[in-house]
């Protein structure tokens, strides 16, 4: 179960010398067709890394044709100036030469420390590329997944096989900086279903909107996020209408929850479900405001069902709500009803890793779930020491 589960794909991962640890840091996923349609969504951060700048324009120029995607850890190649942009462009053009195609059909992703991406970085990647392409095989999915990790503790992969005979594979990295609009999250999805580039784009946007976009581990939005879908058509099957979209959303949800489970230093996975909202936008805004509230997040770390902090967070939003008519339920215990204390907070058991926080706004019929983590000593430790 990886990006090479669907037919028509080869992948590889290797150590190119980008990471001081000597660990694997360069990956490729190659689409051998027969079709090579693709789609991608990019970080909405206005400070965008050089690989994002490259990949966005390349996808436009190729009209949605994607032959391969090259990904590196060990350096974000962000705020590295014109030299850094040329490194992303050279990575694409060298890969294109090796595969006998156009540079515009090569997507490039990087992750690691911002500001890293100088001469040594470029040389290491360009030197390794021929070996990487040579190594690519239908068994290389897991090696690729391992080569894109940074502070992740393990590789994240998934797959789905349809009764119709087509399948979807995926890999993801990201263990911090997860936030709306995507966040240092690199995801590659592959399928052997027969899809046009437009169908890929439509399905990818629909799936990410309700999965990765609703993951908000620490509110910090990355400069390097990219989620890419590659379709080979190798199964020869065109999915029934709606089937592919539904399966892709499931695959994305699976990877999103794997990312959440491996978020830096987290000790709880928190599903914040806002129901009774006047609109989905209201539900999402309320969920995010809670997910980003450090006081709520530290309370959950301390196994403290401090529902006052939930209401204080809701109060900072523009969502339709009446502070005197809000219910808050934590792990099944309604601790606040009609904006006042309900059942004793001592009844709430917060020792399990999984936490459900359910808010009812009583202003409509819409709902949304936002996933986040608690704020822990380990989060502070990992992120205070990251670049040193």
């Amino acid at each position: 179960m990886s990006v090479t589960t669907p037919a028509g794909f080869r992948a590889a991962g290797m150590a190119a010398g980008l990471k001081a640890s000597g660990g694997p840091d360069l990956a490729i996923v190659i689409n051998d067709g027969p079709t090579r349609t693709g789609a991608a969504v990019f970080t909405s951060n206005r400070a965008q890394a050089n690989p994002i700048r490259w990949s966005r324009q390349a996808l436009t120029h190729s009209d949605g044709e994607v032959r391969a995607i090259v990904l590196n850890s060990g350096g974000a190649n962000c705020f590295t100036g014109q030299f850094g942009y040329e490194t992303s462009a050279l990575t694409a053009s060298e890969t294109a030469v090796l595969l006998g195609t156009e540079a515009a059909t090569i997507q490039v992703c990087s992750t690691g420390l911002i500001g890293e991406g100088g001469e040594a970085f470029r040389t290491a990647i360009l030197t390794a590329l021929p070996l990487l392409v040579e190594a690519a095989s239908p068994e290389g999915g897991l090696a690729a997944a391992n080569a894109i990790l940074t502070t992740d503790t393990h590789a994240k992969t998934t797959s789905y096989t349809s009764p119709q005979g087509w399948s979807i594979g995926g890999m993801a990295k990201g263990a911090g900086m997860l936030a709306p609009g995507l966040a240092t999250m690199l995801v590659v999805l592959t399928t052997d279903a027969a899809l046009t580039a437009g169908e890929c784009d439509h399905a990818l946007r629909a799936a990410t909107a309700v999965t990765f976009d609703r993951l908000d581990s620490d509110g910090a939005m990355s400069t390097n996020d990219q989620v890419t879908l590659l379709a080979s058509g190798a199964s020869g099957v065109t999915p029934k209408e709606g089937d592919f979209e539904a399966a892709l959303a499931d695959v994305c949800s699976d990877l999103a929850l794997q990312l959440l489970g491996d978020a830096e230093g987290a000790s709880h996975n928190i599903a914040i479900t806002v129901s009774g909202a006047a609109s989905v936008a209201d539900a999402v805004e309320v969920g995010r405001s809670i997910a980003r509230n450090n006081l709520f997040k530290t309370a959950i770390f301390g196994n403290d069902p401090n529902w006052g902090r939930v209401l204080a967070a809701i109060g900072t939003t523009r969502a339709a709500f009446d502070p005197d008519n809000v219910d808050v339920t934590i792990n099944g215990v309604r601790v606040c009803s009609k904006g006042g204390p309900d059942r004793p907070r001592g009844l709430v058991d917060l020792t399990p890793r999984e936490v459900s926080l359910d808010i009812n706004l009583f202003t409509g019929g819409e709902s949304a779930t936002i996933w986040t983590n608690d704020l822990t000593h380990d989060y502070v430790h990992e992120n205070s020491a990251y670049s040193s």
Copy 2:
């Protein structure tokens, strides 16, 4: 140097039994005139505590006349329903009877845990009020300042005396949840200058806009914040135009920096100055986005000048800027110039508690400073254990 420094004021603080610790938890500041003008600014959180609801309408009904302000720690009286509102109203009316005035001239503030404010809370306050008023004296400023503390490690007071003969005194509490729009921050300012209620309101709004409103310790906005100014006119002096406004802003700045210095678990005070901005609003938005970025805040805790996280935070704003033309200077060392690496990050010494982060956006001539803290193990510890 306290709220009783200006002539015409009495104050007191006492233990009313609200805090389990038995520490002082109830305070009063009484304006003996001859004038009793006042003004207040309240939290912009839409979830507002009962004392905020009371005080806001009382100030409107009294046309800016404020005879006294009663403040308690040991319970926020927020999300405590109609009973809680009546407790605030009863606190005001009982105080009014004791002082021979109208309830609408009594401001009420509470701080502590949300959801706390039941029968025992009300009884404790109402029982203590006669003793509190009896104890009020021109020497009671420090006792009042001590009685409003929660997780603060020490009382915050200040004063200023004008060459013209009028003075300003102040006290503040707040050691967490400091955020824009004010946040569990209770501040009382007194003056014996002769001012109308309109002049008080104008000066208070101008001063808080550039001081308390630019303090963003942890991005969490409280339900209970209030900053109140009381003017007695006891000096008989009407300040020269502009003098009072300037002095009040200085006094507020002094208290704001005292709050910052005592923020929960912080190990660095960070002054984020954004210059070269197209507007003050842009400068404030950029400053806040950095101040609220947990990755930046943990990096400073780790003495790590990780400027990439600064640029990633700027990228999430709507401010006018060009990612390829931004300078970032940390403690005097320009580590990023024109959106790329400049001087080595190793030159930055982050061991002092005071940190200056200077951003130049090169898009205009406006600037603003936002004050924040780092995100530390102690912050997580204090806030994970607060209500348990």
